[in-house]
Symmetry: C2
Subunit: 477 residues, 2 copies
Amino acid sequence: MKTPVQVTASLKRRLGAAVDVSEKGRWAASFDSSKISFLPDAVITPRQEADIGVVLEMANRHRVPVTVRGRGTTLMGSAAPVRGGWVIDMLRLNKISIDADAGMAHVGAGATTANIQATAEKLGWFYPPDPSSKNYCTIGGNIACNAGGMHGGKYGVTRDFIIALRGYLPTGEFVEWGTATKKFSAGFNLRDLWIGSEGMLGVVTGAVLKLVPLPPARWTLLTSFKDEGAALKAARALFRARVQPAICEFLDRESVVCAERAMKTTIFPGQAGRPVILLELAGGVSEVDDLKLEVLAWAQANALGFKEARSRDEAEALWTVRRKCSGAMFELGDAKLNEDIVVPMRNYEKFARYLAGLKRKSGLPIPTFGHLADGNLHVNIMYHRADPKETKAAEAAVQNLMETVVSFGGAISGEHGIGLAKTPFLRIQHSPAQVKAMQAVKKALDPRGILNPGKMFKEVRIWKYPKLQVHLPWDHK
Amino acid sequence: MKTPVQVTASLKRRLGAAVDVSEKGRWAASFDSSKISFLPDAVITPRQEADIGVVLEMANRHRVPVTVRGRGTTLMGSAAPVRGGWVIDMLRLNKISIDADAGMAHVGAGATTANIQATAEKLGWFYPPDPSSKNYCTIGGNIACNAGGMHGGKYGVTRDFIIALRGYLPTGEFVEWGTATKKFSAGFNLRDLWIGSEGMLGVVTGAVLKLVPLPPARWTLLTSFKDEGAALKAARALFRARVQPAICEFLDRESVVCAERAMKTTIFPGQAGRPVILLELAGGVSEVDDLKLEVLAWAQANALGFKEARSRDEAEALWTVRRKCSGAMFELGDAKLNEDIVVPMRNYEKFARYLAGLKRKSGLPIPTFGHLADGNLHVNIMYHRADPKETKAAEAAVQNLMETVVSFGGAISGEHGIGLAKTPFLRIQHSPAQVKAMQAVKKALDPRGILNPGKMFKEVRIWKYPKLQVHLPWDHK
């Protein structure tokens, strides 16, 4: 049996410069946006997809752990190579080509989400999923965690736009799941099993994505409410009327105050410090004109105040506030337990009451914002890591939040996945039979357990690990 | 070890009248719409979902084959209990309730697709997937084969409307995949793995479905073309312009002639015997008004003739012709190899040329119709079973068709699944590594192989089996 060093050396002989064993290269691949670091033995940057087959065949033979990474924007620790071994960096596999007749994008796993959107838009097509890291993150990462974003309610999430995937089994065998067609019903649906599997069942090297016609018209409205309960109740009334805004974002009072302080601005003059809902309609010109009337009538009946964006610039300024509010929260603590829970619409008001109680009981700031069209709320439990009382309160709060969300019929993660960060909560969501079935599937497709080992099933309290003091391009400030 | 008769007797002691061992009951469950018959030992009609847990636990313990059926409308033999054992009949689990705020339907697996649609429509919501058997087929069956229908191109197929599933593992353990929320990214995606798995990986007892707002306006246009190539080329031009009709149905000349003869009518006066495309726009009133202009301009530029339906009745008459054309084909032969292949849009014209050649070479009528927005074409190879020359030509034609479709980048099935009928072609679509991965998943989730055994992987030439002479409610005439 070869030692890890020998195996890495044979890989380097096979793939040459694609294999980086330098200290610097290994360090850069040792962490993701969760900033906990584990040094791999080597980083492989494939120049072509077939290189990945070579890497996996050898890794499987010698039981070398393999972690695949895109840009590493995940907050869940999903791309941290906790067991060392090899990291495959997909960033060079970034080809994008648009089939303008079929309305599909053919992309490499390393293509950036925003680049895919921009390329499609030039031809009048639209790729809606838009995680807030979209300028950095790759489609491969989006597929791995079934990323969502603001357009999820009306348009859907990454899963809803995947037509076909190709890539490699851990044995190094090439596979294709689905064809570049909108219908496919031939054999078990391993395409969708790979989506959201966090690099643990196979390695995605490329995808065919569904596109929709780029909506020619957009219209933005800002609304304010007396309190969080009123805002969530109002949102429900809008959906009951079957109005489907392209975006429907909520910011609670704490999020609004944070964002206003960080940006030295007032989001909604005259409505300072009130929770807001920011809405965007998208569609054909007359379609949006029609919907606008319904939304304005709804705002009149339900909101305390409302204000149309009179230009794309004014709208963009509002969306900037929304995007910055997450980073701005570090004004409230140096540590954050960021949970992307999902609440079913029928329990919106109940959840607002619960959250108010959680803030009171924990004594912590818990600014919350998110996507009301799909119930995916980002609950940010802020604390100071050096303060044991706050740390204890934060840990108790997150545990209680997860249990409550599941008891409300919701989900512990809407778009981030499990990775390491959510491993303590997986069994709140899933029964022993469900976890057993998932583990059986893992064992069937990756019998030697080489793909992204240490994730999902084994409990890790990631917030207790030391964090690197590094500044990533998408960090606040 | 108990004999099958003893095991069935213990099940009957447990579940009483839900277990039917009568000759009549067993015969009725011995076949689906493919009409090949295999007698089971018993038919279980659960009164509640938990009964299914009991059945499966016992079946797994004693290795009794279990085949689940809804209405049995599948043409693929997917619901035929080829290995005997027990059949579970889901028709009584047919509850439907609509969450009008969230835009979701909570349904039992035995609910009829058309009933779900009608219940949703009363509240202004729309469930788009519409297999042509929708008045009979169940949502459980739709999920099992990932059924599609005419709305697939714009709206998507069954898979695109599944939010959550619940049911049982073959061990009898209850599981839930996903929550009643539009985002869910917690653990492996076994929900989607179950979709299209043809009852081989678990038993679906209920689902949460996504609904979309019911489009208030619809508009129908009939267009005719010089030949099939011209029709397919024109369709591509429409999609390139990013017009997304709700429905875009194609009938080739043979299909038109068949339908006209069967219904003693002329589909398009003055354009007799020409291939047609039947289009429907759906959306808001002004949205449809806008799109209409684009479609009329397209028809002017591309079609030989075109004609708007001036009323819903006139439109309905046109859709009736489309729906009847499949049954009408038995005027051309007493046997049909019905293939629901999918062709990528880029190869539409190439496929039209190929199909013309196949008709010529085989000497058989091969009327073809289907869904141009997603490339899912129903190619009907008609022959007389008693004629060995025709039978041989039909078998050669279907083999060649499948190989060609895959070489064109398409799929051997878009919405019917594999069942028994497509087993000879599975390995044209999937490489050995792909089939091996599917079989590994099967083994992991159903280690004793009790669920719908004999399907998908083992080659069966279903068309050689004797067919029952029975008339089913959805049969022609």
